[in-house]
Symmetry: C2
């Protein structure tokens, strides 16, 4: 069973309504071009900056979720709503809403790992100043099988992606907005390695790079195969990435090179009792 996945690498600007219009037009175009599942990038309705998250935050009754739900239903596609600042009980999350072909919310991922970094050269970010972290991994059931959703910095933690795989995810979609520096150095190998190690399809969806924007995203939205190769990857510009997700190919890779079958959990657990989850 195979289907077309579409990734909308859109420019995110300051005007929320313009962002929603852009998301809508790219979702429509991806559907027109045959995508049955479509994803937006991380924080697609708001500039990626702590100072905007509270102002732009919405809840499940908000305009953004309503728009995405109605688009999923009208176009009869699965829709991974990138992520938006979500507010609940006065807490703000970096959250991805996931919709089925009827526009129903079938899952919501709240970013688990807060991006608190200070790179030499001046790039720094401290999401935890304003955002609250999620507490669980996210899988949704679709007619194609289980799909995992994580957000950006979550991908840095191989444990999470492994757990999603062992729980049955065959495709993992990652709305993500890497910086230029970490993008150049780490984007390609991280996406390919997660796909390869777990023998899943792995898709990463970035905003397009906007030289005038608040945040310079790396771009290069891509789909990596269970053999660790890209089957689709764009550059930095606004564009739609389309790729075939073919789970029969995945099964053939898992038969030829049975990594998941060759795991030695009893050996890892032995070490784990002392170290893996030990200390903090």
């Amino acid at each position: 069973m195979s289907f077309i996945l579409g990734l909308c690498q859109m420019i995110v600007e300051k005007d929320k309504q313009a962002n929603l219009r852009k998301a809508e037009s790219m979702i429509r175009e991806a559907a027109n071009r045959g995508a049955e599942m479509i994803s937006l990038p991380e924080i697609f309705n708001c500039p990626y900056s702590n100072k905007f998250f509270r102002e732009y935050a919405e809840d499940e009754q908000g305009q953004t979720v309503k728009l995405l739900s109605s688009l999923a239903k009208e176009l009869a596609v699965y829709l991974i709503g990138g992520s938006i600042p979500e507010i609940e009980d006065d807490k703000i999350y970096n959250a991805s809403f996931i919709f089925d072909r009827e526009g129903k919310i079938i899952g919501k991922h709240r970013k688990i790992h807060m991006f608190d970094i200070a790179l030499a050269g001046g790039i720094s970010m401290k999401e935890s100043d304003i955002l609250t972290a999620g507490e669980t991994m996210t899988l949704v059931d679709t007619e194609f099988g289980k799909i995992g959703v994580a957000i950006c910095y979550d991908v840095r933690f191989p444990e999470l992606i492994r757990n999603m795989t062992l729980a049955g995810a065959k495709l993992i979609v990652l709305p993500a907005a890497f910086t230029l520096l970490t993008g150049v150095s780490h984007w390609d190998i991280t996406m390919r390695a997660r796909a390869l190690d777990n023998q899943v399809f792995f898709a990463a969806v970035s905003p397009a790079r906007d030289p005038n924007g608040y945040y310079q995203a790396y771009g290069h939205s891509c789909i990596a195969t269970p053999f660790g190769e890209f089957c689709a990857r764009t550059d930095t510009r606004e564009s739609i990435v389309l790729g075939e997700i073919d789970f029969e190919y995945m099964e053939s890779i898992r038969e030829q090179l049975p990594l998941l079958k060759h795991r030695r959990p009893e050996v890892y657990r032995q070490a784990a009792e002392q170290d893996y989850y030990g200390g903090k």
Copy 2:
């Protein structure tokens, strides 16, 4: 604190004595060029083929271990003895002996994951037909800090490398003999991803490619930094790779991008109780 690590990418041939002479000369050359820690490749004294493992197998009293011990002592270097077929109680292991500057065995790693694959195109191998798998991860204490040792296919399992990191390994050395196909597709990204995700130095030591040999190894022995970049990497030919292992640089990477600090073990464990170590 930094030191030079030397990797001996040697051609492995059918004649065991020639292999031992080659290993000795390359170890001497690496030491002359300033290496304080030196590693040989996987199965360096024997052709990499099930049909030779029993015939070439030795125990801790054998010629190979004696030679390596005396070289480590004479040259006053740490020596990671690639790997050899080891025999104990009639069982054969793919084992790496590790020596300190006095020539004392300070650790031994037995390959944990058996390479049993059948790739489309005809490349197949079934180590488990003749080899017995090891049961524990391997770390040794050195004056530079803890060093982890794993062998080839062990690297495919991110759990193992993560456990080694959490147990304190700052450098992981992997004698390895990837095939041409998996080498081209997976060698670079796997080595870089393990280094990057765990923010350790990661060194992989392959045999050189010998067009007339029993086994076509990928070559490309390399050292990846805690930022996921290569600081040294060779081609397919017989050669010595030298690279600086600088743990202050490692610490600065870990401060700028605190991946290990940002792990969420409580979230992984939650999933783990159901899935990660679940099943068998």
